[in-house]
Symmetry: C2
C-alpha cells in the first residue's frame, strides 16, 4: 500500500469519487463550480415529458418525481426493482379505442401480437373489442390460453407448419393469411379433414416499400412474405384459393413497412390491391367474387414518436383519407367498397410503456475528437431492448426521481452487458448532474422490447407492471436464478 | 369454387406444388428437366463438411446422413424436434485443451461465459481445468450453482452493482477486474466489511481496436469499458487500487476486439500494457510492484471460421508469438515476464455446435434485378440466432439428412418470424433440390446464439443436446407453452 514516488496523479485518488472515471474528475469539478444555481434551458426541457412521446398518464409532480397513472415511478422501482417495464393501462386501452374509432370499429383493428403479448394484453384487446393477429403457434396458444375468441384471430406467417394450420382450423380462427402456394393445398387438406370451411386472405406484395417519410415503388419485392402482384402470382394465388376445397377467399392483405409517418404508401398499396380486386371480380363467379373482395387488410406500420422531434402518424386523419380513397376507388372499379382492416402493434403498445433503469457508473471518456463523452451505465441494456443495436433505434430518456439542474454534456447511455455495442442512447446531450442512484426512464418501450428480450449475460428478464388509476399490478414477474436453471435437468 | 373465365394462370394451380410460390413453377420445371443426373460440382462441395467450420466429430455417412460424434442428426431431430442445438462435447473439450496447451495451462485460459453458459458448460470448463470469466450476477450465480470453484472465477463488467461485488467477494472469486474509478472505493469498502483481501486487475483501454484482419491504433477510445492508457487514467487507477484498503492489484487487463484473425493487435496491446507495467514498477514499492505486474490478461477475440472461406486464427502460433514477445519485451523493461491470460469464449464454444432446422416453405421470388431468388424458410430464425440481423454475421448451412444433387440457385435462408429482416443466410448459392422436410444444419452456432436467444413471436426456445461417443444427452430442454405463461400470475 506504500508508494515509492509521489506521482502527479495521486491527487485524483478515490476518496469521494462517486461518479466517474479518472479522465475528467478535475474538469467536472470546474464545470460544477462555474454553473449557476438557476435551472438551465436544457434542464427545463429535460424535465419535461412531451405528450407525444410519454404515456398519456405520465406527469411530473411538484417535487420532481414522475408518476404514471398516479403511481410514482420511484415507488415502483422500490417495490419491483429495476429495470422494470411500466405499462400505462389506460394509455394502451385508449389507443385501442382511438384506432377502433378511426377505422370504423374494433373488429377492423387487429392488434399485432408480435409487438408484445401476454394473457393480460390479450384480455385488454378482447375487452376493447379489437381483433388479434398471431404469427406463430406460441402466439396462438397464448391468445387461446387467455380466452381470446378464436373467431377474432387472424393467423400470419411465411412458414406455417401443419401443426399451426391445424391448430388454427380446429380452434376456429377467423382468417388464415395465405403466404405461399403450397400452403394453399396443405390448409385445404387440413380444412377438409377437420370438416371446416376456413376463411382466408391472400398476402400480396404490392410493390410498395413505405419508409419513415417516403415510399418506394418497385415492380418486384425481394422479401419472404406474400405473392407478387406484378408477376401475376398474387392473382393466381387468389384463384387457387377460390378453387381449393374448404377454403373461402374473403380478401387481400398487404404490409408496406414499419414506423411509417406518411400515408401515401398505404394509399398506393390500397389502390393496387383494389386493382387486383377488380380483376377478381372479372374472373370469378359473382358469389366467389363478392366474397373475395370483402376485406382489404393494409397491415401495420403506423409510426410512433420515440423522440420529441418525431411526429407520430395522425391515425384519425390517415384513416379518414384511406377510407375515403378506398371507397372512391372501389366504386370507380364497380366494386362494393371492402372493409378496411389494419394491424397496429407498436402504435398501440409502444407509447404506453416506459422502462425504468437505475443509473450506475458514470464515466467521462476522452473521445477521438479530443472532447469528452459521458457514459451513463444503467442496470439493463440490450437484453431488455435490442432495438438500438439491431435497428439503430433512437429513444428518449428522463430522470424520474427528481428534477435535474445541470449543464448539457455529450452523453451515451449504455447497458451493463459485456459488449461495447450495448448502447441504449448513442449520442444525446444530457444534464451533467445525473448521478449513480438516479432513476432513468426510457419512453416508448412497449413494443418489440420485452417481446424480443433475451437472457444475454444471464440477465434475468425484468418485471412488467401495469398501472391504472393509482394502482399497480404485476403483469410479468422478474425472472430469478431458478428460471435461468429451469431448463437444465437435475443431473447437469 | 367456379370460375367465370379461364385465366391463363390457371394451369399453375395448386395440385402437386409442394415447393414454391407461383412465381417460377414453370421455370423450375424446365431447369429440372435439363439437369443431368450426375452430381454437380456445387453439390459435391455442398455435401462436404469443411473441418475448420464444422464440429470436429461431424461426418457424412455413405447414405448422406450427417452424424456428430456418431449420432445421426436426423435421429436427434426426430427425438428432440427442431430447431435443436447439437453440441459436440469432445469438440468443445478439445478446444479447451488446445487453448490450455497453447497458453501454458488451463489456469491461464478463462472461458468467457457470455458466449454460452449452462451448469453443464461450467462443469466441462472445470473438468478441463480452465478458469471462468463472468460479467453479471446471473453468470456468477450459475457458475456457483454448478459448483465451479470461485477461486478460478474472474468478474468483469462496466456497471458492477454492490450486490455483484459483494457476492463476488463473499464467494471468494479469484479476481475482480476494475472498470471505473468509483468502483475501486466501493469494492474496497465491501472487501473491508467482509474481511477479505480481494485481488484485482485494472482494465486498460490500450488504444488498439483489432478487427478481423487489421487493427486500428487510436489515442483514445470512445467506449464504455476500462481506463484510458493515453490519458493517464489507467495509471491513476492502478495507483488507487494499490492504495485501496483490502484490494491487491495483481495485473492488467485489456480486450482489443472480436473475431480477430491477425495477431498484431494483440501484440501491440501487450506491448502497451507492458509499458504501463514498467511505469508501475518505477512508481510502486517493490512488493506492490511485483504483485501488480503478475498478470497480463489480453482478453478474448480469437476468430473462428463461420464459412469455408474463413481461416480461423491459428491459436498455437499466436500464443507462441505472444508468449515470446511478452517475455522479450518484459525483460527489456526489467520486468519478470507476467503470466499471460486469455479469455476465449467463441473460440471454444462456437465451432462445437450446429443448429438443425427443418426446411418448410420454398418460394422463388423475382428480385429487382429481374432474376430469381429462392427463399428457404426454416422453423427457427432470429429468436435462436440474432447474429445475422444484429452483426450481419455470415454462416454456412448443409442439408444433413441426405446428399443433395441440384444445380446452384441464388438462395436466401429465412426464419419463421413475422419480420422481413429475419434472415439467417442472406445470399448464398445452394443446390435447387432442397425441399420441405429436409434438415438444414447451420454450423458455428455455439457462441452468442442460444446465449442471446429470445422468445420473439412467442417462439419457445430450442432444445440443446450434447453428443459424445454415440450418446446423446439433453442439456437444455425445449421451452413449452407453460414456460411462455410462467411469469404471469394466475389472475391475468
Amino acid at each position: 500500500m506504500n508508494r515509492r514516488t509521489e506521482p502527479s496523479l495521486e491527487r485524483r485518488a478515490i476518496a469521494g469519487i462517486s461518479d466517474g472515471g479518472f479522465d475528467s474528475v478535475e474538469k467536472r469539478a470546474a464545470a460544477s463550480a462555474s454553473s449557476t444555481p438557476a435551472t438551465s434551458a436544457l434542464a427545463d426541457s429535460f424535465n419535461g415529458l412531451p405528450g407525444h412521446v410519454w404515456p398519456r398518464n405520465a406527469r411530473r409532480q411538484d417535487d420532481g418525481v414522475v408518476t404514471v397513472a398516479g403511481v410514482p415511478l420511484p415507488e415502483i422501482a422500490e417495490t419491483y426493482g429495476t429495470p422494470v417495464f411500466v405499462v400505462d393501462e389506460d394509455d394502451f386501452r385508449s389507443r385501442c379505442r382511438d384506432m377502433a374509432e378511426a377505422f370504423g370499429g374494433g373488429h377492423n383493428v387487429h392488434y399485432a401480437s408480435k409487438a408484445f403479448l401476454t394473457r393480460t394484453i390479450a384480455r385488454w384487446i378482447d375487452e376493447e373489442g379489437l381483433s388479434l393477429d398471431v404469427a406463430s403457434l406460441g402466439e396462438l396458444q397464448v391468445a387461446l390460453a387467455a380466452g381470446f375468441p378464436a373467431s377474432r384471430i387472424t393467423v400470419h406467417g411465411n412458414n406455417k407448419t401443419d401443426t399451426l394450420l391445424r391448430a388454427s382450423v380446429t380452434a376456429g380462427v377467423g382468417h388464415v393469411v395465405l403466404d405461399c402456394a403450397e400452403e394453399i393445398g396443405r390448409l385445404s387438406a387440413i380444412a377438409v379433414e377437420e370438416g371446416v370451411v376456413q376463411e382466408v386472405l391472400v398476402r400480396v406484395k404490392p410493390g410498395i416499400e413505405a419508409h419513415t417519410h417516403e415510399f418506394i415503388a418497385t415492380s418486384h419485392e425481394d422479401q419472404k412474405f406474400g405473392f407478387s402482384l406484378a408477376s401475376g402470382s398474387a392473382h393466381a394465388a387468389c384463384l387457387a384459393a377460390v378453387d381449393a376445397e374448404n377454403l373461402k377467399l374473403v380478401g387481400l392483405h398487404c404490409h408496406v413497412g414499419s414506423q411509417v409517418f406518411d400515408a401515401q404508401g398505404f394509399s398506393l398499396a390500397a389502390e393496387r390491391l383494389l386493382g387486383l380486386m377488380g380483376e377478381l371480380k372479372r374472373d370469378l363467379d359473382p358469389e366467389d367474387a363478392s366474397a373475395a373482395v370483402s376485406i382489404l387488410d393494409l397491415g401495420g406500420g403506423y409510426g410512433i414518436a420515440y423522440t420529441e422531434g418525431q411526429d407520430p402518424l395522425d391515425v384519425p386523419e390517415v384513416a379518414a383519407t384511406l377510407l375515403r380513397e378506398v371507397t372512391t376507388h372501389a366504386e370507380s372499379l364497380g366494386l362494393t367498397p371492402p372493409e378496411l382492416l389494419v394491424e397496429p402493434g407498436r402504435a398501440i403498445a409502444g407509447p404506453s410503456t416506459v422502462t425504468v433503469y437505475t443509473v450506475g457508473t458514470v464515466k467521462d471518456v476522452h473521445t477521438a475528437q479530443d472532447s469528452t463523452r459521458r457514459y451513463l451505465s444503467v442496470d439493463g441494456g440490450m437484453s431488455d431492448n435490442i432495438r438500438p443495436a439491431l435497428y439503430q433505434a433512437e429513444y428518449e430518456g428522463r430522470v424520474v426521481n427528481r428534477f435535474v439542474d445541470g449543464e448539457g454534456i455529450s452523453t451515451r447511455v449504455v447497458g451493463s452487458h459485456c459488449e461495447s455495442g450495448d448502447i441504449l442512447l448513442s449520442d444525446v446531450i444530457y444534464p451533467d448532474d445525473i448521478t449513480a442512484g438516479d432513476l432513468l426512464a426510457i419512453a416508448g418501450t412497449g413494443a418489440y422490447c420485452y417481446a424480443m428480450s433475451s437472457r444475454y449475460n444471464m440477465f434475468t428478464r425484468p418485471a412488467v407492471v401495469t398501472v391504472r388509476a393509482g394502482r399497480t399490478r404485476l403483469m410479468l414477474r422478474r425472472e430469478t436464478l431458478d428460471d435461468l436453471l429451469s431448463l437444465e435437468d437435475g443431473q447437469f
